[in-house]
Every structure is written in structure tokens, then in C-alpha cells.
């Protein structure tokens, strides 16, 4: 009985640990690649900004902004990002003069002036990036009823946090930018074979089990097929292709390159303080670890002559 008790106790302890680990897989949002197997693999990009010491690549952020500006911005707003952010430390770090020029390309309504009239003026660094539509209804009307989401926080509001992300300072966020990357490269012109095969198989099995079974098929309708969008049917047409933009720094604008660049830019937009956060974090943790060592030494010294 005694040994049994001991064994069960230690087993329970072990299983509790295993379960604690398993339940950390808190993965409600998305199953990347969807439920149907056989599609292309979900790629985990080797981001420069991942990890405890990871930082953004300025040139990549600047290229990412270019992709956003020239492609995404025609439908997607970024209302939380201001032009001045583009010159702040830890971001694309355009010069202040460059940002003034970038902002001045767009107008904004201001006022009322002394006569009580509203007027248009060019944007300044303090203003937000321009929204392509006046309001959500206008956005929907221009996009076949679908609302293009604001991209300010998209990198944090998509994807799942995996257990792997808990360690190594992976930020628990790399799911989001990875999802964006895969989505951008995950379009297909036609419904791929693994989907049709899946439905053929399902119908075959269904008919076998029940002669009155009604067949179901994958109907794309007006949507676009994307391997990584939940449900595979995406209202947004493939936004990027090779050479959708022309990079001024000589980087070859392949689809994958643009997707990586813009995903990184969106990550920065969602988490503009990431670099300072990590750099302070390293110092804070080092300080705390040394402090803990000292505290332990003092504690041991105090308890030295006490058996407990």
C-alpha cells in the first residue's frame, strides 16, 4: 500500500506537470492551414526581431512601409500610427525631414478657422496615416460588402500563441506576423487538389454510410482561395505579386521578400516599443538575478545556525 501510494503520488505530480504544459498550448484563434491536411506547409519565418536580443532591421521596416503605402493603403487604414512614429527610435527611423515630406503627400481636414470654415491642409508629422475611406460603410461599399480591417494592430490580433513562444523571448507574437506572411504568399488561382480530394473522400464515405447522403463541395463563389485563411475563402484578392513595388535600396522585390517586409512593418506598427522593451528587460532581469543571488546569500547567512 505504501509503495503504491508513493507511486501514485509521484505519477500524479508528473501528470499534473505534463498537463500544465499541455494547457499552455492555449490556441484558440487559428489553426494555421485549416482543418484539411495536405496543403502547403505553414512557414515560420526566421525574423530578425524574434528572440530576447532581436531587433528590427531599419531597411526592412522602410521597405515594409513602402509596400503598405503603395499597396495595402489603398484599402486598409492604420489609424493608430502617426507619421511622427516613422522617425521615432526603434521604428523605420526615417529622418524627421523625410517624415515631413512623407506626411505632406496627404491632406487632412482641419478647422474651423477664424471664419468658422473647415479647410484642407497637408498632413504634418503629428497626424495619423491617412484612411482610404471616410468611414466603415464607405469601405464596405467599395469592397463588395467586406470591411478591410485596420492594420495598426493586425500583427497582435491574428495568429495563435504557441507554447514554443513562451520561451526564448519569442514574444508570443510571432504567430501573428507569420500568419500575415503565409496569408500573403498563400493564394491559389484555382481550388487546389487537396481540397477537392478531401471533399471527394468525404462524399464517398458519406454515401457508403447513408444512401440519402447529400454531397457537399467546396464553392469558392466570388471569393479568392487562400491556403491559410480560416475557411480558405478570402474576400481580398491577392494583393502582392513579384515586383508589386520597386525597392529603391536594390533589394529584389520577390513576393516572399515583400511579404516578409510588410509583415515586419506591421509587427512594428502593433508593437512600436518592442526594442526598448527588450533592451530594458535584459537589464532588469540581470539586475533581479544578481539581487536574488545577494538576497539568497543574506538569507543563508541569517539561517546559518538554525536547523529547520
Amino acid at each position: 500500500m505504501h509503495n503504491l501510494t508513493k507511486n501514485i503520488t509521484s505519477l500524479a505530480k508528473k501528470s499534473a506537470l505534463v498537463l500544465a504544459l499541455a494547457s499552455s498550448f492555449a490556441t484558440p484563434a487559428f489553426a494555421a492551414g485549416g482543418a484539411i491536411s495536405g496543403g502547403p506547409e505553414f512557414k515560420h519565418v526566421d525574423w530578425s526581431w524574434a528572440g530576447v536580443f532581436g531587433t528590427f532591421d531599419r531597411a526592412q521596416l522602410q521597405r515594409g512601409y513602402q509596400v503598405y503605402k503603395e499597396v495595402c493603403a489603398s484599402c486598409h487604414a492604420m489609424e493608430l500610427v502617426k507619421f511622427r512614429n516613422l522617425s521615432e527610435a526603434g521604428g523605420p527611423e526615417f529622418s524627421k525631414a523625410q517624415v515631413k515630406v512623407l506626411a505632406a503627400e496627404y491632406e487632412i481636414e482641419d478647422g474651423p478657422d477664424a471664419e468658422g470654415e473647415m479647410f484642407m491642409r497637408s498632413r504634418k508629422p503629428k497626424d495619423a496615416l491617412p484612411s482610404p475611406f471616410a468611414n466603415d460603410n464607405a469601405a464596405k461599399a467599395s469592397n463588395g460588402g467586406a470591411l478591410p480591417p485596420d492594420l495598426s494592430l493586425i500583427a497582435k490580433s491574428r495568429g495563435h500563441f504557441s507554447f514554443k513562444d513562451m520561451f526564448m523571448g519569442r514574444d508570443g507574437l510571432s504567430g501573428g506576423p507569420n500568419y500575415i506572411y503565409n496569408l500573403l504568399v498563400g493564394y491559389e488561382d484555382e481550388v487546389p487538389e487537396y481540397i477537392t480530394k478531401y471533399y471527394d473522400h468525404k462524399n464517398e464515405e458519406g454515401l457508403k454510410a447513408d444512401p440519402d447522403y447529400t454531397e457537399s463541395h467546396f464553392e469558392l463563389g466570388d471569393s479568392n482561395f487562400n491556403n491559410f485563411f480560416p475557411g480558405y475563402k478570402l474576400a481580398m484578392a491577392m494583393p502582392l505579386d513579384d515586383d508589386s513595388v520597386e525597392y529603391s535600396d536594390g533589394t529584389k522585390a520577390t513576393l516572399a521578400q515583400q511579404a516578409e517586409d510588410v509583415s515586419t512593418f506591421l509587427m512594428w506598427a502593433a508593437e512600436p516599443k518592442m526594442e526598448i522593451r527588450k533592451s530594458i528587460g535584459i537589464r532588469v532581469l540581470l539586475f533581479l538575478i544578481i539581487l536574488a543571488g545577494l538576497m539568497y546569500a543574506v538569507k543563508r547567512r541569517i539561517w546559518e545556525n538554525v536547523r529547520h
Binding site: N85, F161, R277, G281, V284
Partner: protein
């Protein structure tokens, strides 16, 4: 509380104050000269850690409230304003959000330690009740705090939880309307939640003071679960336990700040970075992790009213544990059968936590034909069975191991304790 104080004021000002308000001897009795069992292990540090976390939450929360706007149209943007424009705002918010989680981690360990070592038994029932009251208040505070950023999960979480109150007989509708401040979750809901979220932590602080008071009357329990008998069984609180607690707090802070600086969104939900939208329901509405076992229970019970009763019952039943447990022996160290049931209870709690955030209709861990719902039901039965069957019955039939004569004998052995006692007596007579 002041009963243990050995404080004698030396200065005139000290004497003057002591005669009028003996607050210094009160504090001295509580945190300096209070005798504590010498054999406390590291599971006893989590009370101090929880206290530390409460202070972290109050300090960061007060500063956050200076920058936050409790309005349905502005709350989300004001949180992002804190993250982007307020100096160190990101640090305050991430510390507050992760601090809430770590506060619950500390409190859960603290509660489970009490259950393992039977700390709730006489004469510590009031101490336990006050602790449970703190836990209940924390649940309410945490829930309302999660609503404040007004993201999708805030809004829909609030909708789900407030709708639970609908099942209260006769006055359910009225309670819900009162919680909402209207006929749906909207701006008035956000306003009253903000007001209460600011108020409740101070109520918690008040109950914490009562909790500490109730601790200092009978003193701490200890891993052996036997009362200290002689001076030899205890140590002064300061410097022995103050130093031990401080060391533990620093270790705990390392874990907290790992999350704050390197994984700040791990314990949050991505959907809460989407503005609240009453027209779009998220595919899965998941509460914060610390409610998940209870969420699994509410979903496991087929009837809504019974489910809600089960969920609240699961928390309320913890209040009566001192009277459900019939065993005369406190510590699980001497209760071989209870120890098994305790670990299964812990495992079951984690299992329910896992089940609280997966779809009920899916297969459990991919095992064909075994749904998560089925496992949730088994887990729920064990959860309640532990309190209403195992605790009362086990105390009556369990064959416990013999208890040691005293704490010092258990620590030093019979001879060692004798030698130390003689040494102490010799020192005293010398002095």
C-alpha cells in the same frame, strides 16, 4: 496582533505616541517579533508574494487610471494611447496585465498549500474564510479589469458572464440590467465596471489586513500541521522570515518581469486587440485563464441555470472546506490517502482549465469518440466529489501516520531537541 510585540519605546516621541496610538507595537508584533514555526518550507512564501502583487497592481493601476478613458468610444484608443504615447505606458500596462495573472498564480499556490497542509482547520477557519473572500473579490476585480480595454474579448466576455445572472430566480433580469446599466453591455456597463475595478482592490486590501490579523492570533500552520509548543519550535519573524520572503519575492519578480518584457501578450487573447464590436461575435469566447476551470464546469452541466449554480457553487464550496474535512490530522504528510486525492484534485483542476478553452464537441486530445464534454463532466464530478464525499468520508476512515511530538523533535531528533533546549536554557540563565 500586538500580542507578540516586544517593542518598548525609547524616545520621548515614541513613548508619547505609544500611549495614544500603539501602532508601532502593533506593527512590531505583526512583522518583527511574531513567532513563526521554524520548519516552514518555501510553499509558505506565497502569502507575502501575493501581498507584493497586490501592491504592484494598485500602484500600476492608479497610474494607468490617470491616462485611461472609460468610454465605449474611447477606451480602446486610450489603452493604445497608453501603449504608444504615454511615457513608460507600455511598461505600466504590461506589468498590470501580467501582474494580474501572476497575482492569481501566487494566490492559487497559496490556496493549494493551505489545502495540502490542512491550514484551514481549527483554529484557523476565519483566516481561511477571509482568504476565500479575498479570492472571490479578486475574481470580480480581474473580470472587470479585463473588460476595460474594450476589445472583442472584453466585450463578449462581459456579455457571457453578465448573462449568467439571468438564471437567478425572480430577480435575475433585474440584476443583469443593474450590471449593464441598461439593456445590453454598453457604455454604462464600462463606466460602472471601471468604478468598481478601482474600488475593489482597496476592499481587498482591507480584507488582507483582516486576513493577516486572523493569521497572527493562532500563528502560521506548518508542514507538520502540529502546533508549536515551546519557544524552541518558533523563530522570530524578523529577520528570519522577512529575509526569506524578500528573497522569494525577488525570484517571483523575475518570472513576472520575464513575461512583461519578453512575452507580454502570452497570457492575453489576440482578439482583445480588435475593437469591441457588438455586431461581430468572435468564433470562440474564452475567459482569462484563471477562470477556465470554472468555465469548464459551467459548460459541462447541460442545464444553464444548474450550470451557473455549479460554477458559483464551485467557488463557494471552498468557503466551507474547514467543516467538510473531518480529519483530525492537518498535514497531508501524515495522510497517505488524502495525499493521492489532493494530487488528483490538482491534476483535475488543471485538466478543467485546459477543457475550459477548447471546443466541447471536439475529441479529447484527439482520442476518437471521447469528447471534451465527457471529460469535463467527469472532471466536474470529481471536483465536487472531492469536497462533498472525499473530504468528509476520508477523515473518518483514513489510517493516518503517527505525528511527531514537537516541531523541534521532528527537525532535530529527540536528542538534538533536548540538547538545544538545554543550551537555550543555559543562555537564558546567563543573560
Amino acid at each position: 496582533m500586538s500580542g507578540h510585540s516586544t517593542y518598548v519605546p525609547k524616545s520621548n516621541a515614541g513613548k508619547w505616541l505609544e500611549e495614544r496610538l500603539p501602532i508601532i507595537s502593533l506593527m512590531h508584533g505583526a512583522a518583527v517579533s511574531m513567532p513563526n514555526p521554524r520548519n516552514l518550507n518555501y510553499w509558505w512564501v506565497f502569502g507575502g508574494i501575493a501581498m507584493f502583487m497586490l501592491i504592484v497592481q494598485i500602484v500600476t493601476g492608479i497610474v494607468l487610471a490617470m491616462h485611461y478613458t472609460p468610454h465605449a468610444d474611447m477606451a480602446f484608443s486610450s489603452v493604445e494611447h497608453i501603449m504608444r504615447d504615454v511615457n513608460w505606458g507600455w511598461l505600466l500596462r504590461y506589468t498590470h496585465a501580467n501582474g494580474a495573472s501572476m497575482f492569481f498564480v501566487a494566490v492559487y499556490i497559496h490556496i493549494l498549500r493551505g489545502m495540502y497542509y490542512g491550514s484551514y482547520k481549527a483554529p484557523r477557519e476565519v483566516l481561511w474564510l477571509l482568504g476565500m473572500l479575498i479570492y472571490l473579490l479578486m475574481m470580480a476585480t480581474g473580470f472587470m479589469g479585463y473588460v476595460l480595454p474594450w476589445g472583442q474579448m472584453s466585450f463578449w466576455g462581459a456579455t457571457v458572464i453578465t448573462n449568467f445572472f439571468e438564471v437567478v430566480p425572480f430577480i435575475g433580469d433585474d440584476i443583469r440590467t443593474l450590471l449593464w446599466g441598461g439593456f445590453a453591455v454598453d457604455n454604462p456597463t464600462l463606466n460602472r465596471f471601471f468604478s468598481l475595478h478601482y474600488l475593489l482592490p482597496f476592499v481587498i486590501l482591507g480584507v488582507v489586513i483582516l486576513h493577516i490579523w486572523a493569521l497572527h492570533v493562532p500563528g502560521s500552520n506548518n508542514p507538520l500541521g502540529i502546533e508549536p509548543k515551546t519557544k524552541q519550535d518558533t523563530m522570530r519573524f524578523h529577520p528570519y522570515f522577512t529575509m526569506k520572503d524578500l528573497y522569494a519575492i525577488v525570484l517571483f519578480a523575475i518570472v513576472l518581469f520575464y513575461f512583461v518584457f519578453f512575452n507580454p501578450n502570452f497570457m492575453g487573447h489576440p482578439d482583445n486587440y480588435i475593437r469591441a464590436n457588438s455586431l461581430v461575435t468572435p468564433p470562440h469566447i474564452v475567459p482569462e485563464w484563471y477562470y477556465l476551470p470554472f468555465y469548464a464546469i459551467v459548460r459541462a452541466i447541460p442545464d444553464k441555470a444548474l450550470g451557473v449554480a455549479g460554477m458559483f457553487g464551485a467557488i463557494l464550496i471552498m468557503f466551507v472546506v474547514p467543516w467538510l474535512d473531518t480529519s483530525k490530522v492537518r498535514s497531508a504528510k501524515f495522510r497517505p490517502a488524502y495525499r493521492i486525492f489532493f494530487w488528483v484534485f490538482l491534476f483535475n483542476g488543471l485538466l478543467l482549465g485546459y477543457l475550459g478553452q477548447v471546443s466541447t464537441t471536439d475529441d479529447f486530445l484527439g482520442i476518437h469518440g471521447v469528447t471534451n464534454l465527457l471529460i469535463s463532466r467527469i472532471g466536474t464530478i470529481y471536483y465536487f466529489g472531492f469536497f462533498v464525499v472525499i473530504l468528509p468520508v476520508l477523515g473518518l476512515i483514513e489510517k493516518t501516520k503517527p505525528l511527531p511530538n514537537s516541531i523541534s523533535e521532528a527537525v532535530l531528533g529527540v536528542e538534538g531537541a533536548k540538547a538545544e533546549a538545554e543550551e537555550m536554557a543555559a543562555n537564558e540563565s546567563k543573560a
